[in-house]
């Protein structure tokens, strides 16, 4: 209806002019007036055309409670600016020459599994050539930090099978960015899956009448209202300046909007956990219709809308059937092994389960969405050991008597031991967000690589276990029961581990901790062997790690015998670590 207001106004003015000018009754004047009115009609009927590139998933109804970040900007310019610099904003973007990270001029072409694909730019748009020779517009891009994936228009959006790695400035088949066995990629559904977390208030919009989806979102990317909740009521209330100044004077919580920093750490973390966790809907029917836009809002209990998927819950009645084995998502101690699911790790951390009040660990204990560096969005002063020292005695725990490492060395950093790089995502290893300590009893029995050996890659697990027993009085229970390999742990993980362990070990080979502890040149022959790994992601990481080593150390091993033996023992498990 508002769209009709301007044309109706224009026609009204034209009619008034007509009546006014025609009052003189002169035929010439009437003719002039009629011509003016006639000329006005096309303008009245003309409405600006919707921009052709406007992607179909962005459909916000007039009655929406969401107002979008453009509205937030006028009153919260600083917060808007810091969000605007973040990768959250650009998580999903409408594709144009400005938003596509890759250069597609001159046109690009690839062949994958004998099928031809291409990308080219035309005007401000990007077009994909598909194996059936059809040319379709690329409408959405997801990702802007590590890699960018592209969605091609159609009755359903389909994922273009190549992604662009921003750091390496190269294209790779999307399936190779995941730790998954060689072979065809599983289909990915924007409308029912990605839209949940890669947009603000996304929903599949299932319509029973036509048995189809009509996805919609308040905004592309993760915008203000993803964390603060819908802003319609807040904006309406604060349009009145007196109301605003009264609110400044009160300085209390505004009930019309959610400020995560005023929530308990548990509730604030649930906002992040809505996306940074493996979950499944409590009410599946409601999910298909509304996504989580009705069942979950920032500040509410996440468990009322989403059931956190944990290793313990998998296989229970009502839990979803996964396309992958549980051990591909979780280590045998329940720790999530996929990056981007940090909430799964947080809720198992003692700092979360045993923390009380403000000393309870939450996402905002370390991260801050505004005024923080876009990479990890760590709060000011919370880099390095700073975050831990807000609760723990920094002097005591940074002392060599606790760390048993030289001050300033990688092994003396809190995160080195308590948040080891044991999660995989985006062609790299990522810190585990299950904050815990290396335990002698788990060193040999768990499939999770332990923090010690992720630096001391050349040491066997037995060495690590004895150090933990000696330094911290831990006891492997039952004492000595587990068989401990005398092979260097890093070599065993890289060449004989499961695909996830292999990817993590390949990344660890280039870490500062490994370079500081293992003999010069030790990693090179192992990484060379990993270049023949059946999993593309492992090969990719191994190649990248190899490049960080001094050229003089990259020579072939003098005696490949032990390496061959490890490769022969490689786990054949078809691990599929996917999003």
């Amino acid at each position: 209806m508002p769209a009709l207001t301007a044309p109706l106004l224009l026609v009204g003015v034209a009619v008034l002019c007509l009546v006014r000018l025609a009052r003189g009754a002169g035929i010439a004047r009437f003719g002039v007036a009629a011509a003016m009115a006639g000329a006005a009609v096309p303008f009245a009927l003309w409405t600006p055309r919707e921009e052709a590139a406007r992607p179909p998933p962005v459909r916000v109804s007039a009655a929406s409670e969401y107002v979008t970040s453009d509205v937030c900007k006028s009153c919260h310019p600083s917060e808007y600016a810091s969000w605007h610099d973040s990768y959250h904003r650009t998580m999903t973007q409408a594709v144009s020459a400005r938003t596509i990270a890759a250069t597609v001029e001159p046109p690009l072409s690839w062949t994958l599994d004998g099928r031809a694909y291409g990308l080219r730019r035309q005007g401000d748009g990007v077009w994909a050539t598909l194996p059936d020779a059809s040319v379709r517009r690329v409408v959405l891009a997801t990702g802007s930090h590590h890699y960018q994936a592209y969605w091609v228009e159609g009755s359903e959006l389909s994922l273009f099978p190549f992604v662009y790695l921003l750091g390496d400035k190269r294209w790779v088949p999307r399936r190779e960015a995941f730790v998954q066995p060689p072979g065809p990629d599983a289909p990915v559904h924007w409308e029912s899956n990605c839209i949940q977390c890669h947009t603000t208030a996304g929903s599949p919009g299932y319509e029973a009448a036509r048995d189809g989806l009509r996805p919609e979102a308040a905004e592309l990317g993760i915008a203000c209202e993803a964390c603060h909740g819908p802003g319609g009521e807040h904006v309406a209330r604060h349009a009145d300046p007196f109301e605003r100044y009264a609110a400044y004077a009160r300085a209390d919580a505004d009930p019309t909007i959610v400020n995560p920093s005023r929530l308990t750490p548990e509730r604030a973390s649930m906002i992040c956990g809505a996306c940074h966790a493996y979950t499944y809907p409590r009410d599946e029917e409601d999910f298909w219709t509304h996504g989580y836009t009705q069942s979950f809002r920032p500040g509410r209990d996440l468990e009322s809308a989403k059931i956190l998927l944990t290793a313990a819950r998998l296989g229970q009645t009502g839990s979803p059937t996964l396309s992958t084995a549980p051990e591909n998502l979780f280590y045998d101690d329940g720790t999530v092994r996929i990056g981007g699911r940090e909430y799964n790790g947080l809720v198992l951390s003692a700092c979360f389960t045993r923390g009380e009040g403000k000393r309870k660990l939450g996402c905002l204990s370390c991260h801050w969405m505004h005024d923080s560096a876009p990479d990890d969005q760590l709060a000011a002063g919370h880099e390095g050991d700073g975050a831990c020292a807000t609760c723990h005695d920094g002097a005591r725990y940074s002392a060599a008597s606790h760390t048993h490492h030289a001050p300033g060395s990688p092994g003396s950093a809190c995160m080195g031991c308590h948040m080891p790089m044991t999660a995989y995502a985006l062609l790299k290893s990522i810190r585990s967000h299950r904050i815990d300590s290396p335990e002698a009893r788990d060193v040999a029995s768990s499939d999770r690589p332990n923090a010690c050996n992720l630096c001391h890659l050349d040491r066997p697990l037995a060495w690590t276990r004895s150090r933990l027993e000696q330094w911290y009085g831990q006891r492997a229970e039952p004492a000595g029961a587990a068989t401990v390999s005398d092979t260097a742990a890093g070599a065993a993980w890289l060449l004989a581990g499961d695909p996830g362990q292999r990817a993590i070990a390949a990344a660890a080979m280039a870490s500062a901790g490994a370079r500081a502890t293992v003999p010069v040149g030790w990693q090179a022959p192992l990484l060379r062997a990993a270049l023949a790994d059946p999993y593309a992601a492992v090969r990719f990481i191994a190649e990248r790690s190899l490049r960080t080593l001094p050229a003089s150390t990259r020579a072939a091993p003098a005696d490949p015998g032990p390496i061959d033996a490890l490769v022969a023992a490689r786990s054949a498990r078809a691990l599929t670590l996917s999003e």
Partner: protein, 125 residues
């Protein structure tokens, strides 16, 4: 004196801009920037108005009136200082509470100027 003060404020603002002082040029300081610019412009303009009023009295002595003079002086005080004060503490996109001094100053200005205009209009040429 007031002309000197508010012209000098312009120099101060240019200096803040030149040295990219964060509390003046940052995105979050847009309201402050706007308020202080308004203080500078209005202060300078109203100071010039005082001079114009003084010159008017030479040719139209009947315009000399304590109430009119008080209105213009109140405007000279409240409008620019309200804007300046509103820029000291800002709430996101909103100026501080001192900006509420501006509307009374604006009313005083309109009243004062209106009175002068009436007298001048009635003054025989």
């Amino acid at each position: 004196m007031s002309l000197f003060v508010f012209v000098s404020l312009g120099l101060v603002l240019e200096t803040l801009l030149a040295y990219k002082v964060g509390s003046y040029v940052d995105v979050g300081s847009e309201a402050r920037r706007t308020m202080w610019r308004l203080a500078h412009v209005h202060g300078t303009g109203l100071a010039v108005l005082q001079i114009a009023y003084g010159l008017t009295l030479k040719s139209v002595p009947a315009a000399a009136d304590a109430l009119t003079s008080a209105c213009l002086l109140v405007a000279l005080g409240l409008v620019p200082l309200g804007f300046f004060g509103g820029g000291i503490v800002v709430h996101g996109g909103d100026p501080g509470v001192l900006v509420f001094a501006v509307p009374p100053g604006a009313v005083a200005l309109a009243f004062g100027v209106g009175r002068v205009a009436l007298v001048v209009a009635r003054h025989p040429r």
